[in-house]
Amino acid sequence: MIPNWFLPHYQFPMRAVLIAASLIGIGHSQTSSPQGKIQLDQTLTQAQTVAASAQVCTQASDFCMQPSFDLVDDPIQKAGLTKCIPPKPTFATLPLLAACLDPITFQPLPGAMIQLSVQAEGNTGGHLHGSSPRPIGPPGPPLPNGQPPNPLNPDSGTVGSDNFLHFTYTAPELSGVMDITLTATLPDGTACIPVTARVAVELPGFSAIPSSGPGYVTTTSVGHDSNNIFAIPSVGANLQEVPVAFDFVAQELEQEFLIPTEPIPTLTYTSLALPFGGLFDVSTTGLGTIDHEWHPPHCGHRRGLEADLLINNTAVPPEFRGALYWSIIVSNFTTPVRTERPQFPAANHWHLRAR
């Protein structure tokens, strides 16, 4: 005789609950209390929704978006530093819906009053530091209460006729994971179980160049761990082509006695981009501490297109620089720009950018 508990119809009710739970999305668990929910806003035009959902992030998350770029308004500009000249400010905005769900039907409940807040997760996005409050959204003039501008728009409200609160989140310029937390109350005072959605802010697809290879080594920026040698793969490949071309040309010049016969320098790269792109903050003192958290210098080094090449006299003597310059050019980089800081000659470098 087959035990009743083995028959399919005994398993079905539990399975149905679990399947329904998995289909609900963020925040559902088996409970008799209404529960908050955050989901992508599907009411946008198809193109907007596709753009918002197409990106696949590397950082574990519920939602995924790019960082904002090149924002002009940087109110915490440190004295003595040139302000970044952005070609075009780009705000990255994620359209979302918030609701309070019925625990039985899983439908959004009418009249829910919703409060939203956002917090940055520390040590995410490749930023392994955090002695000052980490930006949760784009820079801008502070609110009248002195708080930084709110990246949630709106950050509270009563759900609309569709029983959802439509809101947007605008990403900061730095990559990382942001936690958006929803709390809500129904008109009868019943509290919804809060829910938190993780939003990964990143540029996907970066890969690290090997820390060393034929003709080159990498060194890390002071104040970061060994995580600033990332770039888009084609740029990384071109960076590895430069020393190969350089070695070939330099050897030719030596064989023709056009430059002294001496060891061909090993190139040193640093400061490509962080693992997920976005703002790359570094130390301005060269002393090992990040003294300018969450802000330029490094207006660039965000899209995986750039690198710094150490170029002081001991790194690459003058007689080798013509060969090096042209090796950079044929490897599809633009004309380098020299950065010369008399107070830190060891950090003098050529700034490279992919064409």
């Binding site: 010049l253 620089r321 013509g322 310059y325 720009v337 950065t339």
Partner: protein, 309 residues
């Protein structure tokens, strides 16, 4: 009144400071662009029938009005190319992901006395000065010549900044002087290897085998045959050449269906002595261009006769 004046003065100073700070922060000095040159790259092209390779030899002339010494020359090509040769002090390479050869004056001159090393690139010792020319640039290819782009850059110092963000500001604000090679170079035209349309030719239509007496004084008729994909009547008759010596035809071509396929062909007459055909040749080649400038090329096997002495 006095307090109001003080307030107004303070506000004026504050606003002026903000404006001047912003102006100062936004000021960027762009480096000299590396394209203040006027250059002509002249190609001499020869064909070796034993290797089936064209040799392209370039002489680069810098006009006297050039404001910089020429330090880089590039030429587009249809691959493949081989045996790229540079004059003394120059090096060659191919751009990554692009069919363009670059010659660069890489051999350095020493830094002038008294000039501090600040990470700059010393000028090349063998750059082409204004009013001068330099030969010795060459490459080989199985592809015939056609019009291609040439590129030239002059020597200019790199941009310099005393801070990281200053260097980035130069890159953002100075696209006319800090950019990719092809964004900045002066563009010209020269001859280089181009892709060609393979065409069928019929030497001495109606005869088989195709027998040629290299010592004859008459003409050799050669037809360019049309096909379903190629219209021979669209060939520019002024560009047609035949034989190792590249003989020009006696005429401007005669339209005739030589092979009775219903398609109009183009028949030329080439003076035999001018073709350069010699005893022992086993095939002969015709080249030319379409009216739109695309190269064409066709070959046919031949036997040479009356060659015993």
């Amino acid at each position: 009144m006095r307090n109001t004046n003080r307030l107004l003065i303070s506000l004026t100073i504050l606003i002026s400071s903000c404006l001047s700070w912003r102006a100062l922060a936004q000021t960027v000095t762009c480096p000299t662009p590396p394209n203040l040159v006027k250059v002509n790259a002249t190609a001499t092209v020869t064909f070796d029938p034993t290797t089936n390779l064209y040799t392209y030899q370039y002489t680069v002339a810098s006009d006297a009005t050039s404001q910089q010494e020429v330090s880089g020359i590039a030429v587009d090509f249809a691959p493949p190319v081989q045996n790229v040769i540079s004059p003394q002090g120059w090096t060659s390479g191919t751009f990554s992901g692009r069919n363009t050869v670059l010659w660069a004056a890489t051999a350095p001159a020493p830094l002038p006395a008294g000039v501090a090393d600040q990470g700059q690139v010393p000028p090349g010792l063998f750059q082409i000065k204004p009013g001068n020319s330099l030969g010795g640039f060459s490459l080989q290819s199985p592809n015939p010549p056609g019009p291609v782009n040439s590129y030239a850059t002059g020597f200019a110092d790199l941009g310099i900044a005393d801070s990281e963000d200053g260097a980035e500001a130069i890159m953002d604000a100075c696209p006319q002087s800090v950019g990719g090679f092809f964004d900045l170079a002066m563009v010209g035209s020269t001859q280089g290897p181009v892709q060609f349309i393979p065409v069928q030719i019929d030497i001495k239509p109606g005869s088989s085998p195709t027998a040629i007496n290299p010592n004859a004084q008459g003409v050799i008729p050669v037809a360019i045959l049309s096909s379903t994909t190629f219209d021979a009547t669209k060939v520019d008759p002024t560009t047609v050449r035949f034989g190792p010596a590249g003989a020009a035809p006696n005429d401007s071509g005669h339209v005739e269906d030589v092979n009775n396929d219903g398609l109009p062909d183009l028949l030329f007459q080439f003076p035999t002595p001018a073709t350069g055909i010699v005893c022992g040749d086993t095939s002969e080649t015709l080249t030319g261009k379409t009216l739109t400038g695309t190269a064409i090329r066709g070959s046919q096997s031949v036997v040479t006769v009356d060659c015993k002495k």
